[in-house]
């Protein structure tokens, strides 16, 4: 008993040395925490409920990306190697838009974030800067995209990353929403969706994407709990074409620690889900309930 107490006491003493909270705030949508430890600065949502890190960056000035899923999202470049108009739903720490703006300085980037506080934290703690070409819109992504579709805007690189791990905005995982995304997608553009790989929900989500886009590439890594969906309006590029593009882009992406050359062979168009699952629609989208079951 005594030993346990000493151990606990020791741990309590060590804790501040490992993790330091440098910012905490409660926004309308979530609790936001910024921590720094082991040379990483991280953005966390709803720490008390045990959420994962949203975004981490290295504090030594290195440009390397920390998380696999962030790196994996750049596989979209295998389908659209030269994006000019980018739409990103979900800002987080702003890593994905920041890297895209560095890679493609002439591209215009619209980022949609529902939570004003997140936008402020990204600016204050994660070096995210708005420019003439890269703008953050405080709005619901579904509303923004519906309006963009009305104005007949087209984007050639669309990243859907609005799921904060803990709660899924259910209206952004339905057939109708994906139809709207399709409307703002340029003929040669790509949709990159950061989604879940948990059992039953994986099936529903896959069936829904398949209904709207037909074929898509699945990108999973054993080291990440995320699954990236890659799709476009025209037919998917062959492994050969993607390998060629990977070879061209690898030098630029090396700085960010993205093992781009290894990506094409990991993309799969194979159906590995239960096709009999129900499509998620505006009428039926209990995503949060389905995920827990």
């Amino acid at each position: 008993m005594k030993q346990i107490l000493i151990l606990l006491f020791g741990l309590a003493l060590l804790r501040p040395l490992c993790a330091q909270t440098i910012h905490e705030e409660r926004s309308v949508y979530r609790d936001i925490t910024v921590t720094e430890r082991f040379g990483r600065r991280c953005l966390l949502f709803n720490v008390h409920r045990g959420d994962r890190n949203q975004t981490c960056i290295f504090t030594d000035g290195s440009r390397r990306l920390v998380f696999d899923y962030t790196k994996m999202s750049f596989a979209g470049l295998l389908l659209k190697p030269d994006p000019k108009r980018v739409l990103i739903a979900g800002l987080g720490g702003g890593t994905i838009p920041l890297v895209l703006s560095e890679l493609f300085p002439d591209a215009s980037i619209d980022v949609i974030e529902i939570d004003e506080s997140v936008a402020r934290v990204a600016k204050d703690f994660f070096f995210f800067k708005q420019t003439d070409l890269m703008r953050v819109h405080i709005n619901d992504a579904r509303v923004f995209i519906k309006r963009a579709a009305l104005k007949e805007e087209k984007y050639d690189y669309i990243v859907l990353d609005a799921f904060s791990g803990d709660y899924i905005p259910e209206h952004m995982l339905t057939q109708e929403f994906l139809e709207e995304v399709k409307q703002v997608l340029a003929p040669d553009g790509v949709v990159v969706a950061n989604t879940f790989s948990t059992s039953r929900f994986y099936d529903h989500e896959s069936v829904t994407y398949q209904r709207v886009f037909g074929e898509f590439y699945n990108f999973k890594l054993p080291t990440s709990g995320n699954r990236i969906i890659l799709t476009q309006l025209k037919s998917l590029p062959s492994p050969g074409v993607m390998a060629e593009r990977a070879a061209q882009l690898t030098p630029q992406l090396r700085e960010y620690g993205i093992p781009f050359l290894s990506y094409p062979e990991k993309l799969s168009a194979e159906v590995d889900w239960d096709m009999s699952r129900r499509v998620l629609t505006d009428q039926y989208s209990p995503s949060n309930l389905l995920r827990d079951n």
Partner: protein, 205 residues
């Protein structure tokens, strides 16, 4: 209608159903509007505001109508009217929200206006049921508080179950429109039941 034991039970059951339906529809309100106005907190705010506003108006109107000799037939018509007034939520939701979405850029006011058109009338009618129920239950002054308490208990208990059922289970089992149809049918059933019961009671007199 003399408040015999059976009739009292009918009023209590009817109040339970109306409480249940109010919250089932309210829970779906934000879901119905999210394709046009998003899932932000303000959309929930719009739904709650309009429901509260409509209920407050309904209480006032229902109370006024219960003055003098309350009629079970009038009471039954509340349920039927609420059911009919809820039909546009099923059939014209897109037709109502589309032009509002086009006209109003700010999702806060868009969702507020859409809530008015979708939910105000049926919820007002549903709000009329509570005070009218109390009037039907109360026979003399002494027990009026007790009757009101009992009525609030069942209708609010119904609301609790309507909320829980919709949020936890119905959305998992049914389409949004199927759930709405369920509430409409329930209201219609209660209305018609009271109407026929009243007719039968009068004939036997």
């Amino acid at each position: 209608m003399h408040s015999t034991r059976l009739q009292k039970k009918i009023v209590i059951a009817a109040a339970f159903v109306s409480g249940f339906c109010i919250m089932a529809i309210e829970m779906l309100g934000a879901r119905i509007m999210s394709p046009y106005f998003g899932g932000s907190l303000s959309v929930w705010g719009s739904v709650l505001t309009i429901f509260m506003l409509a209920l407050s108006c309904g209480y006032l109107i229902g109370g006024r109508l219960s003055e003098g000799q309350p009629k079970p037939k009038t009471y039954s018509l509340f349920f039927i009217a609420a059911a009919v007034a809820s039909l546009p939520i099923v059939f014209f939701a897109d037709g109502i929200m589309q032009p509002i979405f086009m006209a109003i850029e700010d999702p806060r006011y868009g969702s507020l206006i859409a809530s008015v058109f979708l939910f105000f009338i049926p919820t007002t009618i549903l709000g009329m049921i509570s005070p009218y129920s109390i009037r039907l239950l109360v026979e003399h002054e002494d027990h009026s508080g007790k009757m009101a308490g009992q009525l609030f208990f069942v209708s609010t208990f119904g609301s609790a179950l309507g909320t829980l059922g919709t949020a936890f289970y119905f959305v998992l089992w049914f389409n949004v429109n199927e759930i709405l149809f369920g509430t409409i049918l329930a209201l219609l059933f209660v209305g018609v039941a009271i109407f026929t019961f009243d007719l039968a009671a009068r004939r036997s007199q």
